[in-house]
Amino acid sequence: MPIIGDRVEIERKPKLGGGGPGKIGHRRGYGGGDDGDHGRPGDFRSREQRMRRYRIGMTLCIISVTAIFVLLTVVYVVRMGNGRFDQDTRRWVYDWIPLRLPYLQLWANSLLLLLSSATLELARRSMARKEEFAAMGILPPRMKRDLPWLGITVLLGFCFLAGQVLVWNNLRHQGVFLASNPSRSLFYILTGTHAVHLVGGLFALLYAAAGRLLEARFESQSIVVEVTGWYWHYLGFLWFGIFALVHFAKG
């Protein structure tokens, strides 16, 4: 994409009238430099501009999501480590019941998520390929080697969620309830929070996939895909983090 993207940029710049002056000499003692963007701040038309902006927005979201999961992990580990102090026997009681995990299901879900990440990457590439046409205002032709990757990704995402629901049901049938033990509560919270965030990603992808019907500009679709991509891969990474946590830190 980059090469194409850049060429598009160059072609469109004049039309934009963007591109402020070059770097300006700063007086001594004022340090720092520009952040290299000389485009017009208010500019919503340039794809690069929007892309950069959305990437930053996404980075920030990822930062605060990270905060959330780091916190939950810490709580999990600490809670596992120290039990309750029994006032009368004056001994520590470790009431943490180790988790019994339905590994088969969990691995299956992991696989689904992994796949979805891959298909999303493919979707991003095929979109990038079409970017050039879009830039020239031509409705991009469907390339025959392209499958509807986006649709597939969304589908896989939903399968993952369904899989998670199955996991929870399965655990419930084994009598492992949210409230039955801290280990349980934390397992449900970790996976639940992850699922909630995934749903968010799904909505974004749905928007991009349904973009054609909604007549959304191809450009915005591809941006959404690009940026949601980061989020999606990150959630995949998070999932394996959680999986590792509940596997290695059973207590």
Partner: protein, 583 residues
Amino acid sequence: MQMPSPNSILHEQAGFLRRHVFNTDHKVIGRQYFFLSLAAVLVGAWLSLLMRIHLVWPKAAIPFLGEIKPENYLAQLTMHGTLMVFFVLSTVPQAGFGTFFLPLQLGASKMAFPRLTAAGFWTALVSFLVLIAAFFVPGGAAGAGWTQYPPLSALASAGPGEGLGTDLWLVSIGLFCLASLMSAVGFVATTVRYRAPGMTWMRMPLTCWAWFVTSILILLAFSILLVALAMLMMDRHAGTSFFVPGGLLVSGKAVEHSGGSALLWQHLFWFFGHPEVYIAILPAMGVTSHLLSVFARKPVFGYKAMVGATLAIGALGFMVWGHHMFASGMNPYAGFAFSSLTTAIAVPSAIKTFNWVATLYGGRICYATPLLFSAGFVSLFITGGLTGPLLAQPALDVYLHDTYFVVAHFHLIMAMASLFAIFSATYFWFPKMFGRMMNERLGRLHFWITLLGAYATFMPMHLLGIAGHPRRYSDLTGVQYVSAMAPLQRFITLAAIVTIAGQVIFLVNLFWSMRRGPGADANPWQCSTLEWTLPSPAPAEGFGGRQPLVHHGPYEYGLLGAVEKDFVMQDAPATWSDNGPSE
């Protein structure tokens, strides 16, 4: 007042919905936040009035409310703290003035994610309404204090306010977290992406630095709080036991939960809570640094030191939460670490103080209302701040913890200092926000009353704390040595009544000036930052097509030899910079 540009006329003509509800103009959103906070602060101040009256005249019948019962007092206390901390101090200095002026000071015409910013405001509004609604539910509003320590806050059976009232509190603050996150994302993205050409990091006004760092604190702190709230909610309704230990017997009934830790909540809350108090003060510090330089007609003393201190405060803010828990039963060894870290965080604050003083030193000071309030800020910050290092000593804190000494500390530094910054910012930016000037006379009167009132109200509270008067006492008759302090409490109440009455002057001034105030020209304060290159009020299209090019630092005031115009606009032609004073 200048001719409104055709664009803004169009904007005016747009329908109400377009203009106020689906609006994405950051200036409108900024004003909306401003009025939201105003509403919140009025309720909050009214509650503090009720509290003060109840404390010293328990039998006094309030119009429409009648006599105040202890549980009402606790509800008022909780709501007072919550409203003031979240809906005033985390709202107007950051989301209010920030949303309005961050883009303008950076030379941008809109926020990075206008729709997100707008969504943030509406979420905040909803959360405000939810919070207020709690007054009208059975059992009344939450009564566990703004810190909501479980098990009290986790068990509906533990008190009248702990039922629906607390649920609403949790929902409301959860929404507020989302709102703050939304607005913070916009702030950071705007700062990083939308600085006008030439507006380098080191040319940003200190206000922008403050808003930027605060937004990052918000991103981390509020997402933590969100999780904590969710967990508390689950303890209340999903039967989990994160915060509720086993074997409890509340009002004669056995509690089902088992295995939770009450301290966990305190850790989570204060891990959010301490950054939160710096979220409440950093924008205020930024405004003060900015205004002192403007009205002393001098460059900020040690710009880089100020930036450094801001960053240091932001970073250290996440490492000191334990200083709220010295008496909580936390491992005493943790006390050592938190004590030292807390002392460390006092250093950058002190550096800022020194720089403020040095900025004023030898300046050609113009004693307009904004400067008065900024000077008041410095005074109150010193007074309230210096009790910090004292409280930071576990040995001293265990005695003073949860006494009025702490109440005095945080009212002086948080309530009054930050509020003074809000006031100075209001008097200062009012022309740019509403196109008119505020009345100087009334402004000064308001200042004198509020400054003296603030000290008269909160200084004596130190003595109450030293004499061992615990916080959150709805009645002075329960403990003998406490009831002995009634006279001083009565004095404090009188001072508070005067202070609060004094605020009427401000409100009159505010609303009168909005309608009748003399029109303001583009740059009434002779200010060098970009927002003052626009007509007043700032037109809807912002800079429109005209892209400001920044050639100068933000504080080029008091040029030697200059008679008429002693400052350089940030976007003045670069030629000046060649022979201008350099460091």
